[in-house]
Structures are given as C-alpha cells and as structure tokens.
C-alpha cells in the first residue's frame, strides 16, 4: 500500500481516493432519489382531498428546531474532520459524539412531529398530499437513522484502532453522507415547510 504523505490521511492511498470518488457518485444517485420524491410531492401537494393542507398542520417551532439541530450537527462533524486532519483523536471523537447527539435530537423532534400530525388526522392514507409528505420526510428521517448507527460504528472503530488511513477514510466518507443529509434538509425546510406555510 503506497502512502502519499502530501495528501490528508483519508486520501493517502489510491484505494482511499477511489472510495471517496465512488461515494460522490453514490451521492449523485441520492440527489436523483430525492429529486423524484420532490417531483411527486410538488405534483400532489394540492391533492389534499378531505384531509388537511400543509398550511393547516405545519408548525414553525419544531421545524426551526430540526433545522437548527441538523445545521449545527453538520458544522460540528466538519470540525470533527478538521480535528482528524490535525491528528487529534480525542477532539475528533468528541465532535463526532456531539454530531450524533444533535442527530438524535433532530429525530426526536421529527418523531414528535409525526405523532402530532397523526393525532390531527393526517396519516399516510389520508390524501395524496399526506402520502407524499410522509414518504419524503420519512425517507430523509430513515437516512438520518441509518447515519446515526453508521456514525456509532465509526466512533467505535476510531476509538479502538486510532486514526489510520483506513479509519480516516471511513470517517471522511461518513462526514460526506452526514453533510448531504443536511443539504437535503435545506430543500425540505424551504420547499416543503416554508413554501407550505406561506402558500395562500
């Protein structure tokens, strides 16, 4: 294994470099996955039938909390990768743990939000609008849930094996995934929630 010391550790071997590029290609496919969900959502957003509209069920406070928690977690994992490049294992792990806690907070608010919707009579079966709303939000939430466990295993590995070319590479790829979830959330926040609440 040829190690190139002029590059950050996560890029230091040919295999590492290709792993990262490959993950970007995967993210390209993820963009398309969420692209199709947004397409269906925008197409069906007015098909509310007997059920509520977005303006009737969306509430600003939980949505703002979710946005703030996810945005901050994205910033914190960026600090984690920075600490990793400095070779500071303890700082890196601290930032990663904070990231996952913020992710859990996000999920807490989202689950609570889903239960509120359910009690207000908006379920997956209520209307075409609620079906697509829950499918889009749920797909993002499922990604965050998966990311939580992925991150947990990354933390355990780095704690056990230290910062090596292999673990640095895995951590960096996980950080790409986590940032990407925030990018998707920006679009959900803007074009589902804000758009829905300001729709007249």
């Amino acid at each position: 294994m040829k190690v190139d010391h002029s590059q950050p550790l996560e890029y230091s071997t040919e295999q590492n470099r290709l792993n990262i590029l490959g993950f970007w290609v995967f993210l390209g496919a993820e963009i398309m996955l969420f692209g199709t969900l947004f397409t269906s959502y925008f197409t069906l957003v007015d098909r509310t039938g007997d059920g509520p509209t977005g303006a009737e069920i969306f509430e600003i406070f939980p949505v703002l909390m979710e946005t703030f928690l996810l945005l901050t977690s994205s910033f914190v994992i960026g600090l984690g990768i920075h600490a990793m490049r400095l070779g500071k294992k303890k700082a890196m792990l601290t930032f990663f743990v904070i990231t996952l806690l913020l992710g859990l907070g996000f999920l807490g608010f989202e689950i609570d939000e889903f239960m509120v919707y359910y009690h207000e009579g908006a379920t997956l079966q209520t209307s075409a609008f609620t079906s697509m709303l829950f499918t889009t939000l749920g797909t993002h939430g499922a990604h965050v849930t998966l990311g939580f466990f992925w991150g947990l295993f990354i933390i355990i590995q780095v704690a056990k094996r230290g910062i090596t070319p292999a673990t640095a590479n895995k951590s960096f790829i996980f950080s790409l995934y986590w940032h990407f979830l925030d990018v998707v959330w920006i679009f959900i926040f803007t074009f589902i929630y804000l758009e829905g609440m300001t729709r007249v």
Binding site: G28, F42, T43, L71
Partner: protein
Amino acid sequence: MRELFPAKQVWGFVLSLALTAAALLVYFFNMSRATGMTIFIVTAFIQAFVQLVVFMHARETDDSKSIFATLYYAIFIALITVFGTLLCMIWGWKY
C-alpha cells in the same frame, strides 16, 4: 483549542444560519408569491453550495472535476425531472 475551529468553517456555519434567517423573512413578512419563491430558490441553492464547498471539501483534490461533473449531472437530471413533470402534470402548455 483555537486551532480546532478553523475560520473558514465557522464562517460557513454563520453564513448558513444567515441564509436560513433570510428564507424565514418570507414567513414573517407578507410578500408576493414571486418574491417569496425567488428568495427560497436563491437561499436554498447558495446554502447547498456552501455545504458542498466548505464542509464537504469538494474542491480540494485532483478528483474535483469528476466530483463536480457527477454533481452537475445529477442536479441537471433532477431539475429536468421536477420541472418537466410539473409542466406535464400541473402547469400545462398554453398556445
């Protein structure tokens, strides 16, 4: 301690918060739909770009060209799908 908080990322975070606040203006103030949608589109895409460049380090290595080729291709196809579908299913074509 200070070296753990690089200025570039802190500014990226501040900028993200500012853009979120800018999008919120549409919620708190009465605006026409066209103005509101313009603010939404501008703030969302800038914020996505900040994430990609500042936090995901998309520009840092020799693979940058391949990374952006993949991204632009994916975004292009996604936008075609969204707006093409809206054109067929909602807006229609008046002539």
